[in-house]
């Protein structure tokens, strides 16, 4: 009875086992491919491969700015604050949910558990950078970022009428890795990687970080990198760049970093991998290698840049100026050799070399060239300067001057008359032809175009007084009035004289300079050059000690209307006079001294360094 019944009962059992085995066979053998794909979807991870943004070098290959490899410590709050429970005795996280508190710690047998707290990370404290924020502070800062993102996300969802429950949003955002500490020391990284269980929730992540290694001397011109604005993010997003990358992306925000962005930009690589439960990579499914940015050799010379910056700083201090700028370029091809800007307060962050200033007497060079080209100036014709004329005075002793003397002694009335003689119809277009009134195309986003007033401008700007008066034209003739010029434009004007009449486009990238187009006849340029030599040998610049380098130049002192005590002190020129190798412009803002005296030492320091090499 028993045995028969037992066998009878075994029949359905064996049948069920058979069905079960068949089912397993069909899943694991027949449908294996399908389930394999499903599994791949779940265990697929995308690993980021950081890429290096292009470096910016000086003309001899020295690094101005580069991406430096660093290790960051990141934190995932869901793992180390909110949900992870730790053994109270050995402090290792055992990842038990709160409900399982009555279990024993697998490592030390402790029975007490509590949520992770900053005290668990006490082992890291000795390795934190001295003098920096405490661990608590770092954590707080990272958590503040989390809170801010939660607020933003909730607000965004509300705006779109989406479900915006704070708890849901928090839960998702808690999983995001946040940077706790940038550029961790090797000791800290070692401590973290030796006992990962202990510091569960903290990770070491590689990152490239932008460093301006050449320091202050180039910081303004190199500029800064920073995260994208929302509009830029959308623009890149529409180009198909993954959002995960866009969020992290840093682009040039100012200076060369911005101007050369397209060439410097790198594209992060990614690797689609399948990992097992231990996190080991089993298979690489797809690989998109990182693309580093292009390394760009700029035309700047770091030693010159340093010398000039230092000299400018000294000059600013000596004359109590609020800032100053210096630009030097190769008159043959327009390559910028040095472009420096220093300043106090707000001017410290501005690049004064590409921002406008009142040019003062240096602009007489343009008036002279314009007159010679238009034929309204006869270089040999003399003019007797004595006493004010239409309210225009001169600082030189009274006497008779021709063009050479007018430039070397900086006669205001001569050029006021010259401008009046040619008329605004000749003067303004000629200034525009020589690059005034518009940006020179240096790839610096901050660059301004300056201003050359013309009747059209006057009409627009002053509707109540829409006529450009002859008085204003006279002022412009010797660099006054509403004229605004950037030091780069001024240096380029000097290059035109220096190279015999060609307008070279200033460039900051080595090898991209060009010969430029002829804008002034060689004869006119020669005549002005001769006069500029006289400025240094016998004129307003004779006391600057520039004779040793055979400089040809022009001083300038623009009085500020608001405060006659302060001047814009200019000195622009080129050297050596007979075969110019460098053209430059230097100016200091709001100095008490006459132009040449303030700007002279900077030029001298520059030329010493330039010719020493």
């Amino acid at each position: 009875m028993f045995n028969r019944r037992l066998l009878l009962a075994a029949v359905p059992a064996i049948a069920y086992f058979g069905v079960l085995l068949l089912r397993l066979f069909s899943m694991q053998v027949a449908e294996a491919e399908h389930w394999r794909e499903e599994a791949a979807k779940l265990s697929k991870r995308t690993l980021r491969i950081p890429a290096r943004r292009g470096a910016i070098l000086d003309r001899s290959g020295e690094v101005l700015a580069e991406d430096r490899f660093e290790l960051d410590v990141t934190v995932r709050f869901d793992l180390c604050v909110e949900e992870a429970w730790r053994c109270a005795a050995c402090r290792r996280s055992n990842f038990a949910s709160p409900g399982r508190r009555s279990r024993r710690c697998p490592d030390c047998g402790g029975r007490e558990f509590r949520p992770a707290s900053p005290a668990d990370f006490a082992g890291l404290v000795p390795f934190l950078p001295a003098g920096g924020p405490s661990f608590e502070g770092l954590r707080e800062a990272a958590f503040a970022e989390h809170r801010r993102e939660v607020e933003e996300e909730v607000a965004r969802r509300q705006k779109l009428y989406m479900r915006a429950e704070r708890e849901d949003v928090e839960k998702v955002l808690l999983r995001r890795e946040r940077v706790l500490l940038r550029s961790a020391s090797p000791e800290l990284v070692k401590e973290l990687s030796l006992s990962p269980e202990r510091y569960h929730g903290l990770f070491v992540r590689p990152a490239f970080r932008r460093v301006v290694s050449a320091g202050e001397a180039v910081s303004v011109i190199v500029g800064q990198v920073g995260p994208l604005s929302e509009a830029e993010q959308r623009e890149l997003g529409s180009r198909g760049i993954p959002w995960s990358e866009i969020w992290r992306m840093e682009v040039g925000r100012s200076g060369l970093e911005r101007g050369l962005e397209d060439r410097l930009r790198c594209r992060e690589g990614r690797k689609e991998v399948e990992r097992d439960a231990r996190g080991r990579v089993i298979e690489v499914l797809e690989e998109d290698p990182p693309r580093d940015g292009e390394t760009i050799r700029s035309s700047l010379s770091l030693p010159l840049q340093r010398t000039v910056t230092e000299a400018l700083r000294a000059a600013c201090a000596a004359h109590d100026a609020e800032g100053g700028a210096f630009v030097a370029l190769d008159p043959a091809n327009g390559e910028v050799l040095a472009l420096a800007s220093v300043g106090e307060g707000i001017h410290a962050r501005l690049n004064l070399a590409v921002l406008p200033a009142v040019p003062g007497s240096t602009f007489k060079i343009l008036t002279a060239l314009a007159g010679l080209e238009a034929g309204t100036i006869d270089p040999l014709e003399t003019f007797t300067c004595a006493g004010p004329w239409h309210g225009i005075g001169c600082s030189h002793s009274p006497g008779t001057v021709d063009l050479r003397d007018a430039i070397s002694r900086s006669c205001n009335k001569y050029f006021a008359r010259a401008a009046e003689a040619m008329g605004i119809g000749v003067f303004a277009p000629f200034a525009a032809k020589l690059g005034f009134g518009r940006p020179s195309g240096l790839l610096l986003p901050e660059e301004s175009g300056g201003l050359v007033p013309d009747p059209e401008w006057k009409r627009r700007r002053y509707p109540k007084d829409p006529v450009l008066h002859v008085g204003e034209l006279r002022q412009m003739g010797f660099g006054g009035g509403a004229l605004l010029v950037t030091p780069v434009q001024m240096a380029r004007l000097m290059a035109v004289v220096a190279n015999g009449g060609r307008l070279v486009p200033p460039v900051l990238v080595l090898g991209e300079g060009g010969g430029g187009d002829r804008v002034v006849s060689e004869a006119s340029a020669a005549r002005v050059r001769e006069a500029m030599e006289a400025v240094v040998t016998e004129g307003t610049g004779r006391r600057l000690g520039l004779q040793e380098f055979r400089v040809a130049g022009k001083t300038g002192t623009a009085e500020l209307v608001a405060d006659r005590q302060d001047h814009m002190a200019w000195f622009a020129g080129f050297a050596p006079a007979e075969a110019p190798r460098v053209a430059f412009a230097c100016y200091l803002r709001r100095v008490k001294a006459h132009g040449a005296e303030a700007a002279g030492p900077v030029v001298l320091a520059f030329l010493r360094e330039f010719f020493a090499r």
Binding site: M27, Q28, S43, H200
Partner: protein
């Protein structure tokens, strides 16, 4: 009664002991794998604790052989009563995990009395039915049912429907083997099925109802629910299916079903060893059940036969339901896989089951005049 006189230790079934060692090795191997979790990057050393439990269980099994199953059966009602008391104690002082009050905190372990109650009920039923003839009558089935329903009610209240429902097939198999008429059992089953709506509307929680409906194909899950309710099944199917023929290699699996160390340990084996591993597991279980059935067939007394039959039913149903649920052939219940799942109570109770079966073979049977 008659102590150890007449024991022939050679009769200890060594094939089964070897099988148990193989089971233990397999269990430790895959509990080691199951300890890894890439989402948190952590490792939980399940295998170490399980090794400890395996050693304890093995010793208990051997210790059990010194006492005859007859004296165990003689005390079956006492043991049954103690089991009921433990279940009541759980009700009163139990520890709550995952919304269920199933455990007693003994300090060194969390004891799950319902795991042992399964064995106790088999013992009690074997004791009660052993030489009764009234199982042939409908009325005679009443008391065995009452004996089973009492602990069931306590376990359902924990709640632990899966374990509770396990008692039903065990009871039916034992009654059937004892000689109950099939149409009587059919009648009782029919009555039980008629009572199901009562269970459904009276006791089940919403999530349990949903599971039943989904299992019966009466209801589809929304995407959201799929993520929550069907999540286990989906993940478990993917893990099993993706193992393929040969598996992904020991320790190379990545599909982690929650609770894969306890209820879903089969998914880890199936993923890492593939269909080959499945076959290994099936062969081990078939061999075990075959050897146990042989003991039942060879047993000289009805009590021994009933006891081994009940144990066989208990282990088989657990195995069948556990593996079935990983591929969607059985509803997902909290049943462990005998000998392989992580957990001290479960492992010990399974070893005790096998120990009792070995005991039946080892010790001389009851001798009664009537049998002579």
């Amino acid at each position: 009664m008659n102590g150890n006189r007449g024991i022939h230790w050679r009769r200890l079934d060594r094939k089964i002991l070897v099988l148990l060692l193989l089971f233990t090795a397999l269990s430790l191997l895959f509990l080691h794998s199951a300890g890894y979790d890439s989402s948190t990057g952590s490792f939980r050393p399940f295998w170490k604790k399980q090794l400890g439990w395996a050693v304890v269980s093995f010793l208990m099994l051997l210790l059990l052989q010194r006492v005859s199953y007859r004296s165990v059966l003689d005390h079956a009602y006492v043991i049954y009563g103690a089991g009921l008391l433990l279940l009541v104690a759980v009700r009163l002082f139990g520890t709550t995990l995952n919304n269920a009050k199933r455990w007693l905190d003994l300090g060194f372990m969390l004891l799950q009395p319902s795991e042992f109650m399964k064995v106790f009920v088999v013992l009690t039923l074997a004791r009660y039915i052993r030489w009764r003839e009234d199982t042939r009558q409908l009325r005679g089935l009443l008391r065995p049912f009452l004996l089973t329903l009492a602990p069931m009610a306590l376990i359902v209240a924990q709640p632990d429907l899966g374990t509770a429902l396990l008692f039903i097939p065990v009871l039916f198999v034992m009654l059937f083997v004892a000689g109950a008429r099939a149409h009587h059992l059919g009648l009782v089953a029919l009555m039980g099925i008629l009572c199901l709506p009562l269970l459904y509307f009276g006791f089940m929680k919403d999530y349990q109802k949903k599971r039943v409906l989904v299992f019966l194909g009466q209801e589809q899950m929304s995407d959201r629910e799929k993520r929550n309710e069907g999540y286990h099944l989906d993940r478990s199917k993917i893990a099993v299916g993706s193992g393929g023929l040969a598996g992904r290699g020991l320790g190379a699996g990545d599909q982690r079903v929650p609770e894969n160390e306890t209820d879903f340990i089969f998914t880890v084996i199936a993923e890492e060893w593939g269909f080959m591993g499945t076959v290994v597991v099936f062969v081990l279980y078939m061999a075990l059940f075959l050897f146990l059935a042989a003991i039942a067939v060879e047993a000289k007394d009805s009590a021994g036969k009933l006891l081994v039959a009940g144990i066989l039913a208990l282990l088989f149903v657990q195995t069948a339901v556990n593996i079935g649920m990983t591929v969607g052939l059985a509803p997902i219940t909290g049943l462990t896989l005998p000998f392989l799942s992580y957990g001290g109570s479960s492992l010990l109770s399974c070893f005790l089951c096998v120990g009792l079966a070995l005991n039946v073979r080892l010790h001389p049977p009851y001798v009664f005049k009537r049998d002579l």
